[in-house]
């Protein structure tokens, strides 16, 4: 449709769409409607760019652009391949959905500093796309740090003691991991081979032959724990703390931008820096698999004990993220596919769940699950969507989560890891235990004592319900038509 030259500039344009929106949003801070228009315009432009690129990549092309030759040996470099496209599609599409929802939420609660909020939102999305399109580790690192910094004001949005504390913890873990572990690991890697560009396939990696086994193992774990956004225990502690943020932020953080960037970075490094061959040879994959298995089970168990809905969702996120890493760490084709497709499935499902939590808060100001008895009857759409998304989390057909579980189980079988299968089954059980009661209580539970039936509680505003439904429906669609996304995943690993 377009020339190849166009596709060379498309990644940069996708990036600039959200970056360019920043000054516009800042300038129109006195006109809320105009300001929101810029957000939508940027989101739309960005999504269309990514969509075009997706088509181009599907046709078998890989776009590589060098933006700035920043060091003699290294450049800020973009590379759009199938793996990156998967993530870029999800994040850019969900920006549109999230933007609509955020406007409803922010206006519904008359939040302060909305302009700052939208600016940081745009910057965070810019960083997410940057990570998706990164062509080497340096670029990845750059956008990773940009994301950490730009989401800080979002997490600390309320500016109260709790907000600051959570944000402080958030930044401590993220910067501590990236500066303390990823940066040195990256520099050691560069010193070893003089190259940080991602490999062209997932097998070879870029670790130079002859590097000491211990060193490679150390590097591997430095990356695994250094990308603290991926929520692997013990680097997960920021995630529940960051729950103090407004719900759209939680949705964005825990479904789209932040944690997915962490997982994306981890898997990117595993597959394209270390490569399957090295990971197999040194048993790195299986070590990582057991570490994340621990995270999966532990996080699920903690989630059961939480009464605060958002907190429960946060631990669920920690657990679900590790599915993705688990899939990749198992190294069998089916498992890797399962892991990657879970980026998509989890994104849609989790954003739905968070949106629901936010809608409940806006409509009722309730945060605790125990207070939600009977709410489903007055907020059927919200809780319907919640139920659907819960199914996806649990992994029941026909919702997207089922596809993940299917591939993961198949992959674990291929790998012959009985223990991992056990973990998957156990976590599914746990998922049921902590998700099912929410829906059940809402629709069939008793209204808490001391409350009459008619408290005037109604559904959340339309601008919130529509995105919720859209996200829920998408979650369903990914389950019914998994092929759309799977064709990209198959390009990564056949």
């Amino acid at each position: 449709m377009f020339s190849a030259a166009f596709y060379q500039t498309a990644p940069v344009m996708a990036l600039c769409a959200s970056l360019g929106a920043v000054p516009l949003i800042a300038l129109s801070r006195r006109h809320p409607n105009l300001r929101e228009f810029w957000t939508f315009a940027a989101a739309g432009l960005k999504f269309s760019m990514v969509l075009l690129l997706a088509g181009w990549v599907l046709a078998g092309n890989v776009v590589e652009v060098t933006l700035i030759q920043v060091l003699p040996e290294l450049a800020i470099r973009f590379k759009v391949d199938a793996f990156g496209i998967v993530f870029a599609l999800v994040s850019s599409f969900l920006w549109i959905v999230a933007a609509a929802y955020t406007i409803g939420y922010m206006r519904g609660l008359s939040e302060h500093a909305q302009t700052r909020f939208f600016i940081c939102f745009a910057l965070a999305l810019c960083a997410a796309i940057g990570v998706a399109f990164s062509g080497n580790l340096l670029t990845l690192y750059l956008f990773y740090e940009m994301l950490s910094l730009s989401t800080y004001p979002l997490v600390a949005h309320h500016q109260d003691k709790e907000g600051r504390g959570g944000a402080r913890k958030y930044l401590t873990f993220l910067l501590g991991g990236s500066v303390g572990l990823v940066l040195p690991a990256m520099i050691i890697l560069f010193t070893l081979g003089g190259n940080l560009a991602f490999a062209d396939n997932i097998h070879t990696g870029i670790i130079p032959a002859g590097t000491g086994d211990t060193l490679v193992t150390c590097l591997f774990f430095a990356f695994l724990f250094g990308f603290a956004k991926n929520g692997v225990m013990p680097m997960h502690a920021w995630l529940p703390g960051a729950m103090v943020a407004p719900t759209p932020v939680s949705a964005l953080l825990h479904a789209v931008a932040v944690v997915k960037v962490g997982v994306f970075c981890t898997t990117r490094v595993m597959l394209y820096v270390f490569g399957i061959n090295v990971m197999e040879a040194l048993n790195l994959g299986i070590m990582a698999a057991y570490i994340v298995s621990f995270t999966i089970v532990t996080a699920s168990i903690i989630a059961m004990t939480r009464d605060n809905l958002k907190s429960r969702l946060a631990y669920s996120t920690i657990s679900q993220l590790s599915y993705i890493i688990l899939g990749v760490a198992l190294l069998t084709p089916a498992a890797v596919q399962g892991g990657i497709i879970h980026i998509v499935n989890h994104a849609f499902a989790k954003i739905t769940l968070f949106f629901c939590a936010g809608a409940i808060y806006v409509a009722t100001r309730r945060k605790k699950i125990s207070e939600m008895g009977g709410l489903g009857r007055v907020m059927p759409f919200t809780f319907g969507a919640f139920a659907l998304a819960s199914l996806s989390m649990i992994g029941a057909p026909p919702v997207g989560g089922f596809i993940t579980k299917w591939y993961l189980l198949k992959g674990a079988l291929d790998a012959g890891q009985a223990a991992i299968i056990l973990v998957l089954v156990a976590s599914t059980m746990l998922n049921i235990v902590y998700f099912a009661p929410v829906t059940f209580q809402a629709f069939f539970g008793r209204v808490p004592d001391g409350e009459t039936r008619d408290t005037g509680i109604r559904e959340a505003p339309l601008i919130m319900v529509v995105p919720i439904m859209a996200a829920a429906v998408l979650s369903l669609l990914t389950g019914i038509f998994p092929g759309v996304m799977m064709q990209f995943v198959r390009m990564v690993i056949p």
Binding site: I68, V70, L71, P72, I76, L149, D160, L183, P184, I188
Partner: protein, 506 residues
Amino acid sequence: MMDHAPALMIVVPVFASLVLTLIGPLGQRAAYGLLILSIAGSLAAALVTLVQVVQTGQAVYYRMGDWMPPMGIELVIDHLSAGVLVLICACALLTAIYSMHTARQDNPDRLNHYYALFALLVAGLLGMTATGDVFNLYVLLEISALSSYGLLARGKGKAYYATFRYLIMGTIGASFYLLGVGYIYIMTGSLNMADLSEILRRPELEESVSVRIGFTLIILGVWIKMALFPLHAWLPNAYSRAGTTTACLIAPLMTKVSVYVMLRIMFTVFCVDYIFQQIAWSRLVIYLASAAAVLGMITALSQRDLRKMLTYIIVAEIGYLTGGAWLANTAGYTGAVYHILADGLMTLCLFMAVGAVIYRTGQSTAAAMQGLFQRMPVTAGVLLVAAASVVGVPPTCGFFSKWYLLQGAVKAGEWVFAAALIIAGLVAAILFFRLLERAFFGRLADAVTEKKSKKPHGTARKIRIQEAPLTMLLPLVFTGAALFGLGIYTNEVVQYLIRWSVPAGI
């Protein structure tokens, strides 16, 4: 005229300072204008020289009085010094523009004499950087030192004692340098750097104890001047009590030029093989540097006064620079030289931003940062950029210097230094985070009351924006942009300047 750029660059500020001494009656504007004009002239000359050096790929030589070296004194501007010269001129020019209000505030009387000393300091620093003669370097070192005593002592009451201590330490440093030069002279009979480096390669001198003592004394003297841990005690007091303009001028430049002198002595007069094979203590320097980086940052963290905090950051950065230079590999050297430029700009930016805050709020404790993003958004934004650079967030220049330094440490297998760099970076992150958190949210109480009052959108508390005056803001913003600029053009800086100056043998 172009051929004379090296001389003009140094002489123009000297002339300016002479004229400035005499034009008191003409008023403050005339003094301000003349200072800016002269330093802009120097900058132009420095840029001309830089372009010439980069284009020809060779050093520019200028023979003072047309005497052949080593009989006469020559200026040698190679890739290393050209970069530093431009840095000095640029920082001085920005500070000069910035000084319009602050200098008047700090100097109710004798502003023209203050500016005369300002110009002399710049001339001294430029001369130190450009010269190819070890004794001439001493004379210019003393010029910059003397004028800096004058500038620093213009601070408030406590500045006198701090300056006195600086004077004592500075004199010890300069005297050690001179004594070292004496030792080298006695063994070689020469003072010209190029000549010296030839003579010092003779085997009998490589073994000589006296030459080693000379080298040790020179390096010790320079360390005192650049405040390397544990010889740093004079710096924080002297710098933090000075007036804003003085601090902006001296803090970024004095120590960096001293580091430059160290590099010159190490790699131009002596050579890598000599230092690392003949000097027994050379392997220990890296530990000193590591200690400087970590302890400097930690001490900075414990400070309440903003300026004092920044001065301890300088102490830490000196650790980075020294470590890079003594790693003895290309990456470390590149990192050190690049960091001279980067840290010069970073320190300037920090001091300017803090100076603007002090100018507006009148207080210099961390409390002055309260709600800065609302009151002075531009200043706060630039401060954020500078902080990101000190911490090492890409794509600011601080990241790339750390990149090279870490790479050098890894290549040399100096894990202690690598760890020190990372720890210092993390401590810096905590330090700036604490500051910026305050700046970002303002008073905790405000946020709480506001939440309770639940004002509708748009009528949230209105805080009057009170930015610093434009003459302060423009240099500040420019410096902040330069931090990005330098970071993005790292490739060019490394390829066209630093690579050429990498000494043979490392």
